[in-house]
Symmetry: C2
Subunit: 340 residues, 2 copies
DNA sequence: ATTAGCAGTCGAAGATATTGAGTGCTAATG
DNA sequence: CATTAGCACTCAATATCTTCGACTGCTAAT
């Protein structure tokens, strides 16, 4: 349906719009990209591209702006994702090689780096604990009424929590707990820790319920920890021309502050693949002027965290996705390296 | 210099401006507050208040707006801070009594509650480790090449970190470390852990430097941890009329995103006292349109965290400070309770 | 299929007028 | 002398109108 030239012109229009944030006119296309055809020809093609839903006009006599459908074709078929320079590659390598002490930390470093290179706002969340296998579980007595509970999973994820008691706990009790939890839970998925465990332990261990209850309570919290979004470069977005619109700026802050929408999006991505959400493809109102690109870092079915970029629909997809592709590759390599 | 009536009128003007965000005219004052004098009288007083620097005009024929000096007099001398309702007190009690597992968590709960009640953006930082006395220090072996180091201080603060090694570590080594660190550091201020310790341990323990080095490195990081600002209700600020100004909105996002300025302010407050920063009293450009109210929670000279409210200069100081006063009192009580 | 050419559209920007919410000042008042 | 009525004056905000020019779409010629 779209011949080669129309696809080329569509790409040029999107490129130009991403660059200038201004509606693109036929004259500009001729001047900058298509020196051998006349603006009238471009206009004809534009009219057809508009009829097909790839372009929009802001008013009758304005230039064209890509529609969500236009962006979609653009990112899916018209772009190559090798828009990354040697300097950028070097910079990323440097950053990611600075040894992080945990997966979460590495994810944060990657998130920050991504924002630095792309100049967009980036977000990330840590790994979902669900599905992870308990490799080690330990309780450490701190003082006489405080315990630290630590879980290590097969992906190297470490989670710890403080548990406070109203009565003294002895070293022997802690040893019993350690022995019991390890024999029962090692090799089990982490979500095995739940309320049903409480009764079971109570029967088996004859340990005071005043001790078991807070332990299970806190350990459970570890699993479905309300997820924290790590945010980098929120102010960068405010430099973009679209943020001149107060309405839009407000939506943006709302989005980042209420978190739910972002969590939703960060959580729905599929493993190992870059997901692209373009404006009104999503039905959330606040999101309609933004695009989000996410990448879920994982091994097998185990989640290691998700990183996202949020920017205006007119985002530099080529750069963003190229850089993200590289970072994701690098993260996987590093993980293999560390766990081989 | 200012007679009673002028002070009264100043307070009324600030009250009114805080309420409406519009320059206040003499007519409004007469209508709403001073039914027994004429607007001409109020105008005369206003003129003098302006000459004395407490009021400003946005243009020759506009109403008056409080100056920073005006706000200062207002908060220092004209306000009573008992502007808190029974419902609010009850709500705060409820929130703060939900048992938190650490001081940091309690501070966060207080921060969130403060934002909920005042409808302003709130921020907080956790306790400074400096000055705290080590009560317990423990290393726990996780797997064969990973250690968790845990420090408990006299204020009940718990900090932990993961330490990774390139070689295996044995249980005996960990025991030696535990024994050594505890005998040497218990009762010492936390900042005793520094590079000089590394050599000392190396000599005393004859333990591999490959093990000691990463430990000290990580433990040091624990102390001067780059501080994380906890932020609540950033979007609430965007509902305020002053945020119609893009310039101001941008400054706000910058402020919260770059963190340094906020950290600076949160760190300079004096213990146990509510600090009020009003707009251009501060010389930071980004801050000139905002006021910040902070409270540093502490016992003795030990810091337990700082909470702040950031809003427009036209902030509801009475409400904000009243609520903060109550929360601070409550936090102290709770702490006494838990540590008695 | 392409293109030159031209009429038509409409937002952006600038000029001008209008309005009214304020003030400050003066002169009168108790 | 403090207070006040009254009035001239100021100026931001708003509305109205004009102009300008960057676009398009269409037609007719190539």
């Amino acid at each position: 349906m779209l011949d080669e030239r129309k696809r080329k012109i569509l790409k040029e229009i999107v490129d130009e719009y991403i660059d200038t944030a201004e509606p693109v006119s036929s004259a500009i296309i001729v001047e900058k990209y298509e020196n051998n055809i006349s603006s009238a020809t471009v206009r004809n093609d534009m009219a057809e591209l508009e009829k097909a839903g790839y372009l929009e006009k802001t008013h009758t006599s304005s230039g064209r702006v890509p529609s969500a459908k236009g962006y979609r074709l653009y990112v899916d078929e018209l772009l190559k994702y090798d828009n990354i320079s040697l300097e950028e590659i070097k910079y990323i390598q440097e950053k990611l090689e600075s040894k992080a002490n945990s997966i979460e930390e590495l994810t944060k470093i990657a998130t920050t780096t991504l924002s630095e290179i792309t100049h967009y706002t980036t977000v990330s969340i840590g790994p979902k604990t669900t599905g992870q296998i308990i490799e080690e579980i330990k309780f450490v007595l701190l003082g006489s009424r405080m315990l630290m509970g630590i879980i290590v999973t097969d992906t190297g994820l470490v989670r710890e929590t403080i548990i406070k008691f109203d009565e003294d706990v002895t070293e022997e009790q802690v040893e019993t707990l350690n022995y019991f939890f390890n024999t029962k839970l090692k090799g089990e998925p982490i979500e095995r820790i739940d309320a049903s465990l409480e009764q079971y332990i109570f029967r088996e261990l004859k340990c005071s319920i005043n001790i078991i209850k807070p332990i299970i309570e806190q350990m459970k919290k570890l699993i479905d920890d309300e997820e924290k979004i790590y945010l980098e470069g929120a102010n960068k977005s405010f430099e973009l021309p679209e943020f001149k619109s107060l309405e839009l700026a407000k939506n943006f802050v709302n989005l980042l502050d209420t978190k739910e929408v972002m969590l939703d999006i960060l959580n729905t991505g599929f493993a190992e693949d870059i997901q692209i959400y373009i404006g009104d493809e999503n039905d959330n109102e606040d999101l309609k002027d933004f695009s989000i690109v996410t990448f879920k870092h994982s091994v097998g079915d185990k989640d290691l965290g998700t990183i996202g970029i949020i920017g205006p629909r007119r985002m530099n997809y080529s750069k963003v996705i190229s850089v993200m592709k590289y970072i994701s590759k690098k993260l996987n390599e590093d993980f293999e390296q560390n766990n081989k």
